[in-house]
Symmetry: C2
Subunit: 288 residues, 2 copies
């Protein structure tokens, strides 16, 4: 692959001096029929093939979205994590609403010798079930963790002020539990632009990413799921066009990790061009 | 055309509440061989044809860049302004380093009954020759005027602090001369990304656009020339890719007018998608 994303993860852990936004594949998710079938059949081959495709397309980390995994969560998450880490040398994000599945993923990663610095839990929020069931896993497994800017009842904040207040509450809950701020990755929650307040929310998400360091008094990493923006838009061209317009805005706002469809080549190019423009060094096509 | 950009210009004159970035064609310039030949031959037909193409491609204003026009500046600028205003109903920006040519353009526009609110002078800077020779035209012809963030000796500011200081000096020089702040449009000067400090400058331009309202204590309109970013890059795909990554960043920073190649369809789509995302209203493809 010729590029070690771990170095970037570690640099991010220290400070936010670089603007190099990390490209995280959102492709490996249970909603894909091939992934669902592979998990049901305990067949790692299709998962490996997809992970390899993502890495080849430019993924610098892979989100393993298993869904809630209500049946046999441990074995199934184990299958997914093993399949991915066996074939691509990329940091992984273990993504499930089910704490049992998350824990199985963390254990599997540890068993496979994956460094804790290369494993992220996705994720917790101010919802009591998440604070009680998910957040403690971060300390226990010494992993990075994604924290969503959602209200305690699981809703998207109604406006800019509420979003900022939720960010402070989330950060406070996280650090009060004894966790290291450098291991937190805040997800401001992109919503579909087709929602009634979708435009406004799109602007507010940029604003919260920009203002977080000042709001929290220190740099905290951020992640956002780009696909959410265009949920409900069927036309592929329009979807890609909107995503490729929002992506540079997120990068310029200071977003650290972009969770995206890495098999959309144009979006990957947009992400690379964005961070090339925002990088510290001298212009070079190699930085793209 | 179905869309009256004058309304936008007027709204901008009042306040910066809307984020609708205006698309200004940079295509009508003397460096194009067809435009140069038309001007030399006093033939308005090719100029009209190009202006129509720009309008059809989505231009909401047209920059008429005549160059210095050292020979017969009055007649030639008159030809250009007449040709454009006769065939497209769009605001115009009269763009020349030669005050005589600018004045001829302003007189022609007035003679043709073009409202002063639809004519912009491009432009002045802190260079003494510009302050003496160009700035007075704004008051005399009741026109909007572009002010470049350049040092008094005509250079791009060396860093963020100097750029901010130049903005304050420019604004002060402009208002001290008795001009209305609502008629000023600041151009932060995009430089080629291939310059040694090109990346840093690209980031600083975004920052100055974002901070100008606070810096000057009031909203002031901004314009930027996108093509400058990719000057010196031969590969068309790379040029377009970089432009389309920077464009949404400029829009999100709050840029009011983007001077760009409107015949690059992909860039126009990117501009429209950007402002759609940043608009106030409910999502609609019509807003694109």
């Amino acid at each position: 692959l010729g590029f070690d994303a771990t170095v970037l993860f570690q640099r991010r852990n220290i400070c936010k001096e670089s603007k190099r936004m990390i490209i995280v594949a959102d492709n490996l998710q249970i909603t894909r029929t091939d992934v669902a079938a592979a998990v049901a059949a305990f067949d790692p081959a299709p998962v490996r093939a997809l992970a390899r495709r993502c890495a080849a397309a430019g993924a610098e980390a892979v989100d393993i979205n298993s869904g809630p995994l209500t049946r046999r969560p441990r074995e199934r998450m184990q299958l997914l994590v093993e399949a991915v880490t066996e074939c691509v040398h990329l940091p992984i994000i273990i993504d499930s609403a089910n704490p049992k599945a998350l824990e199985a993923g963390l254990e599997t990663a540890a068993d496979m010798g994956t460094a804790a610095s290369r494993v992220t839990i996705n994720g917790f929020s101010l919802e009591p079930a998440k604070l009680d069931g998910v957040l403690p896993l971060a300390g226990r497994y010494d992993a990075d963790i994604v924290g969503y800017l959602l209200t305690p009842d699981g809703h998207v904040p109604a406006g800019a002020d509420e979003r900022m207040a939720v960010a402070v509450d989330l950060f406070t809950a996280y650090t009060r539990a004894g966790n290291d701020p450098a291991r937190l990755i805040i997800d401001p929650v992109i919503v579909p632009v087709t929602w009634q307040e979708g435009h406004r929310q799109a602007g507010e998400v940029l604003e919260v990413i920009r203002q977080l360091p000042q709001l929290l008094g220190m740099p905290v990493r951020t992640i956002a799921g780009l696909s959410n923006l265009t949920t409900g838009i069927r036309d592929r061209t329009r979807r890609s066009m909107l995503a490729r317009a929002y992506l540079p805005m997120l990068a310029a706002a200071g977003l650290d990790m972009i969770l995206m469809n890495v098999l959309d080549e144009k979006s990957v190019r947009s992400a690379r061009a964005s961070r090339m423009l925002l990088s510290d060094g001298i212009f070079s096509w190699n930085t793209m």
